[in-house]
Symmetry: C2
Subunit: 105 residues, 2 copies
């Protein structure tokens, strides 16, 4: 996993509108564009661009069904994001432990 790909995932999550979209998708069934675009406070086309940003970062996948397009969360991206942070925290903790040992001497 490249740094850049990880950064793109975080970047995709780094916007209130996109965060809400992701949250809605984690909540239940895959939703279609139209439904997802509602109640975001922006136009349908505006929402579409945000969804496209999520697609580009591979946080979300599109599946055309008839005249609709279903939007589905990609759990892999979430995991990669969480793992990255977890690894940072592991290093952090390791250092804290070393510091603790040092002061205990």
């Amino acid at each position: 996993m490249s740094q850049l790909a990880i950064a793109q995932i975080f970047k995709a999550l780094g916007d209130p509108v996109r965060l809400q979209i992701v949250q809605r998708l984690s909540n239940g069934t895959a939703l279609c564009m139209g439904e997802l675009s509602k109640d975001l406070g922006i136009s349908r086309q505006g929402a579409r661009k945000q969804i496209q940003a999520l697609v580009s970062a591979k946080v979300v996948q599109l599946h055309p069904v008839g005249r609709e397009v279903k939007v589905q969360l990609d759990a892999v991206a979430l995991q990669q994001g969480r793992d990255f942070i977890a690894r940072l925290e592991a290093q952090w903790d390791k250092r804290l432990q070393a510091l603790k040992q040092f002061t205990e001497q």
Copy 2:
């Protein structure tokens, strides 16, 4: 924790340069501005702006020491980011389990 604050944390992590800065800080001791600015491929003042972005998102804290300014990672922000994703994943898993039960009937 507001959606906006979380989005700001992710946004702060959503850039290769800032991600590298965070990674360096998780690694060891708090570094000062000058050291942190090296080998990022941008000017010192450019790096400074990126560090400021991390400060604004509370991913990092500044501590002036003499003529230097130490930069320290804030583990709380990391945890909040990871927790947010973990909660999304929990909902996701819950749904998968419900689906599994349904198909097993």
